[in-house]
């Protein structure tokens, strides 16, 4: 299945987390979201948000000035 993509570059935390939250709310259990960010704060905040909501971080890739985070949406009910 293709990832849903969210461009959160140039947004500073917590906005990338809020945009991720809003995007995940539109997805179903088992779908994936790929978020592209530039604020290094997301390295902590998006995984933390995923943990408290029970979603899974599949992958984090860091390149110069860009961070890509892939999330598996887990909403079993």
């Amino acid at each position: 299945m293709t990832d849903t993509f969210l461009d959160a570059r140039r947004l500073l935390c917590p906005l990338p987390v809020i945009r991720t939250q809003d995007a995940v709310q539109k997805l179903r259990h088992g779908q994936t979201l790929r978020v592209l960010c530039s604020d290094p704060g997301v390295l902590h905040d998006i995984p933390a948000w995923c943990r408290v909501h029970g979603h899974e971080v599949l992958d984090i890739q860091e390149a110069e000035d860009e961070i890509a985070i892939r999330i598996l949406v887990c909403n079993p009910d």
Partner: protein, 338 residues
């Protein structure tokens, strides 16, 4: 309501101790200090970054819903019914607004009441004996608003009357002392928590408020967009003329952040020497471009050079080069600095 500070962490935990299902809600106004300047400034990048509200939620084992209220919050900042604090902080209106939003959220999501970490006498505007009932009343939350840390000092709320909460197991904290909270934190095993009280909003900062007031005055209207209030957090701000202002990056991280605005502002940077990226906000009059170039040179490594070459660009993509003498420090009036 989880702010990320100690009090809201404790308030939630006190209620959870009574078997209540709690979920956190946190509001983002655009003025929240939370990590922004650390994210921008390169020298701060090594500092550990965490969103304290998310961290609190993790400590509590609860979900946290972060709500973007940037646009709606403008009316609170621009037209506070209860006025400002010592700077442009509309603390009482802010609290009323957030509780009102939380009340709407609990109604939409089938929750029964709101918990906050407020303590009577803790803060000069929003946490006073006479203002706390105003928050409950004007927000519409009324007796569905519970302050577990000082509940015994306040009238009974609906959850207490209904037996959802045991009043005897709530607290009677008051005043500015942090000792009761620290003791309660220790009893719950919380040893690491954000330093509380007052430092969470740029509007409580005097220098930030000066820059915001200057922005309104220069535009002739009280309004702002998110980019405006973000830019006020970054760089050195100088206003040589009523109509235009310079935002001067102070280090590499800020320069990089300001680069993102090059398509919206006339901007300049030295090319003969290392130096800042500078944004020019406003209408440039005759001689202003050269003055800005001389200031840019002043804040570059070429400040003592006979001449510095500065490249200026506009949103239209046109580029021009200026060779200028750096403006001597003594020629920069102190009142240009915001």
């Amino acid at each position: 309501m989880i702010s990320g500070g100690l009090d809201s962490l404790l308030a939630a935990r006190v209620v959870m101790e009574q078997g209540v299902h709690v979920e956190g809600i946190n509001f983002y106004t655009g003025f929240c200090v939370e990590g922004h300047t650390h994210a921008i400034r390169k020298k701060d990048r090594a500092r550990p970054k965490r969103n304290n509200a998310l961290w609190s939620a993790e400590q509590l084992g609860i979900k946290l819903h972060i709500v973007d209220i940037i646009d709606e919050y403008k009316d609170v900042v621009l037209n506070p019914r209860h006025g400002y604090g010592s700077n442009l902080n509309p603390c009482l209106d802010c609290k009323i607004f957030m509780v009102e939003k939380a009340h709407a959220w609990i109604e939409a999501n089938d929750f029964d009441f709101i918990v906050t970490g407020e303590v009577i006498g803790q803060r000069p505007m929003s946490q006073r004996r006479d203002t706390m009932p105003v928050i409950a009343r004007d927000s519409g939350a009324a007796d569905r608003l519970v302050r577990p840390l000082c509940a015994k000092n306040l009238p009974e709320t609906l959850p207490e009357r209904e037996g959802w909460l045991d009043r005897d197991r709530l607290h009677a904290f008051s005043g500015r002392s942090r000792k009761p909270q620290m003791a309660l934190a220790a009893s719950f095993g919380f040893t690491d928590y954000a330093q509380p009280a007052g430092g969470c909003c740029f509007l409580t900062d005097r220098q930030y408020s000066v820059k915001l007031a200057d922005l309104w005055q220069s535009r002739g209207r009280r309004d702002y967009e998110l980019d405006d209030i973000m830019l006020l957090k970054v760089g050195r701000h100088l206003r040589p003329r009523p109509g235009f202002k310079l935002i001067v990056g102070r280090e590499e991280g800020e320069n990089k952040f300001l680069e993102g605005y090059r398509k919206r502002f006339v901007h300049m940077f030295p090319v003969s020497h290392t130096g800042p990226l500078v944004l020019l906000d406003g209408e440039l009059g005759e001689g202003d471009l050269e003055l800005a170039a001389r200031l840019t040179a002043r804040f570059s490594k070429g400040r003592d050079a006979a001449s510095v070459t500065v490249q200026a660009g506009g949103p239209d993509g046109k580029v021009q080069t200026l060779d200028v003498v750096p403006l001597p420090g003594e020629d920069i009036p102190a009142d240009w600095y915001l």
